[in-house]
Symmetry: D2
């Protein structure tokens, strides 16, 4: 039985030895440990993977013991994930298909270990991709007038399908606070600029107008403030005066899909932790 | 005799054939040609290097002929540079030494083909580097009260030494409009962020607070608006949650010196042209 | 009518002015010109895009005139491509799907402007992708014994479908000289290392064993010598001691698909020229 | 008192908890821990930084205790470094100055925390840099005939100055086994290619001839086999058909100096560990 612990708590001495001793005493073998201390904030972070001899310890018992003997003492916020559970990921899209195609091909080839119960879109342009990959596609149009009702429908879908997290694969609508509160640090967006430069609409046009020599893409968790959530992953590519806006868009597509897929993989592999609007990304 | 032409003018048909025919008729052999058309602005840009049989044509005659027969017809703004003239570069510094050291070692080893008549600084911390590299070092303190007088002194120095262009090698004072007007698109700054993100003071602190996964450096020509001039060169480096502000500073130093030296080389080799607050960078 | 000229010939003075004058005299407007001189080899290369007023000149006439008046004089090897012809691209695959998925999604979304008459594979594992994207999939098994016959079948397919060029999207068989001679500089391969390091089989294993800190991918035209053809595009990614061979493979997949797609786009847009087992890649 | 432990030993369960408990019991606070397991080799690696209340424990006592209670049990190869000892670094150079200038400016500005007792060279071309930076410069010519005697002189210098490690800052002579045996994994070289491609002489020429689109630099520990030692750091830069060999050299200089300085910093900060001709590089 493989168990992955994610922990953060006020920093103090002795946490590592206490936790690692606990694992050992319970018959676990540590196969990976990464820790980080944010000294300014006084917070300790740890990710630990271990193998347990199955018979010795039930999942429930291990959780109880850890909670009683360790977590409460150190005031930890923590979680543990057993085995190879596949999180359930909902895909929100609009009209651009490159991120959707990229994620679905990774899913189909087994590279991305998730369940994808459905794709939802405010347009029906990409319905054919749902068909190609045999994934239910829901078309929920969003207008000024029906926005609240559309969200209610979205929320219902998410609940009906027990969705764990949401990926906005170039979904061009602003996510409301209702949805954000239901999925805190569980909505992953891809923005087509190296944030915080060019937040908001039309970043490639803005980058072109500024005459930058580098464009970027940023994947982040969605928070109330637009394009200001905790950054998971970024990457950049060189451009020059010969590139027009549509060349930025072309080059950007590859950045967007690669950066988004890396962020999704980090989330799925439970390698991200959020604190003070920043991420700790474990190795 | 080597001649490098830099040209921009309203776009129209026939410019390339007219210019290249002119070169050929005057006994020149084209060894490099790069052109660019900004279609939105309707502007044509060209850089052309050619070899002339020395005897046939004097520099003055070639200039006159080009002006009369070509430049006026096409309403060109143009310049031509002969042979291996070394431009005269003034260095402005404050307390950081990495960009200064980097530029001086490139100069000393012959990699950077300029004359450096002097270094000027608002502090005397780096005077020892002037001594190490045998370059006159002027200490002109700048305070709120004496700013105007300090600039007069700087301008006098620049004139006395027939300076062609200025490099702000982490000079921590804002350049006044007087100096900018005297050296339009001839003052090169290095800013320690991937502009337009984190313009202004303390960009590494701002980048750290935002939790970016990539930091950058930007070299640009100085204009009236702070950190908003035409970008010559940018580059980026990856950071993570383990890096504190001082790690950003450490990593940033290497970015800054490499990006600045690339921009200076492009300027010295007459590979930059400015239009509409952007640069055309010839290959 | 848009015309793209690709030219190479022995270097001499006057080529640019002669060609550009020809274009102008025939009512063409040059919208792009890039040239390169390989001084050691004494070869001149040029790529030129121009717009012609349709009525004035037929394609055939333009070709004839260019051949008579220019190409013969300068001993040019040249080609001209009119309008938006879509080249016909055959896909060869084996068992890995990431490059295939990537190319097909670019094709489906209109990003990659080609016709894809068929996919051919020595295995039937990826037949389902042909079905997903509605592209004929031919399964031609290749064994030691039937290799010659298999190639005959491949060649027949290529001729029947008037294929212009071939992309080996992780096709794991060595291409025979027969096929290479039929498609000189028209077979694009992706190799999963930064060539010339780790040519041949199992490059990720070799890279892991050597303890490199950077892995790469290389797209090149296929020639007789294995993994030694003219390089079109390369890119790299960082790895560290924490990455095992399967992590190299994971990271490599993204490199491979991006590098291959860039190479294919360069070929499709007629931006590549081969000389002396190297490529000139126009901007 | 700050103590940095570097440990490797056969992998088994309980190492982390045992070591971290030891630190805690001795009044130490762990401020950094990074571990790695090479499963194939069955080896456990750890780097641990901790702060000790000075009074409680002497350096010698801590070492003895660790040795007796931990290291012997787990068959560890280990070292501990206290406080801010500055290692003593000898610089070997030939005629190229860029790496030398780069390291010396980092040293002079306090960025590189070492002592530099001397520079030694087989030529006297760079003697002036020793003078500029006030560092003793020894000229020991190396010819076929005097090679053995030259090495004896070098060794004597290294001993006289209690040198801890050697940096070959573009030193163009092959290091003999005598020197390598005296300084195992303590001689850092910079090679101007992305090894294992283009090992040996004239890598830029070889890269140019092959038509690569990327060049690189590699810093590694020197071993008996030329350019085949454990790689510490690598980086790459893009080139194109427009770049001639001398452009490769120009671009390469920046790669070389940045890659070498990163490797030296990693070594100085005791973040490198060598095993099976590979490095573990701690974060």
């Amino acid at each position: 039985m493989k168990a992955t612990f994610l922990i953060h708590c006020p920093d103090q001495t002795g946490i590592i030895s206490t936790v690692t001793s606990f694992i050992q005493e319970n018959g676990g073998n540590i196969i990976y440990l990464d820790q980080h201390v944010d000294k300014e904030a006084g917070v300790f972070f740890m990710r630990l993977e271990s193998d347990f001899a199955d018979s010795q310890n039930s999942e429930t018992n291990l959780k109880d013991q850890f909670d009683k003997r360790i977590a409460r003492t150190y005031k930890m916020e923590w979680s543990v994930h057993f085995g190879d559970e596949k999180p359930r990921m909902a895909l929100f899209v609009s009209k651009y298909n490159h991120c959707l195609y990229d994620l679905l091909s990774r899913y189909y080839s087994g590279e991305l270990k998730v369940e994808i119960p459905f794709i939802v879109s405010n347009h029906d342009d990409l319905k054919y991709i749902g068909t190609q990959f045999d994934i239910p596609f829901y078309h929920i149009p969003v207008t000024k007038d029906n926005k609240a009702r559309a969200e209610t429908e979205q929320l219902q879908l998410l609940k009906d399908h027990s969705v764990d997290f949401i990926v906005l694969a170039r979904y061009m609508q602003i996510i409301s606070s209702t949805l954000i509160e239901e999925f805190p640090n569980k909505i992953i967006n891809i923005h087509h600029s190296f944030l915080p430069a060019f937040a908001g609409a039309k970043p490639y046009h803005a980058a072109f107008d500024r005459g930058v020599k580098i464009i970027g893409a940023t994947s982040h968790y969605v928070t109330e403030e637009l394009d200001a959530g905790p950054i998971i992953e970024q990457d950049t590519a060189r451009v020059s005066h010969v590139h027009k806006v549509h060349d930025f868009v072309d080059k950007g597509r590859d950045l967007e899909k690669i950066v988004l897929s890396r962020a999704v993989q980090l989330h799925v592999n439970r390698k991200t932790m959020v604190y003070n609007n920043k991420t700790v990304i474990f190795s």
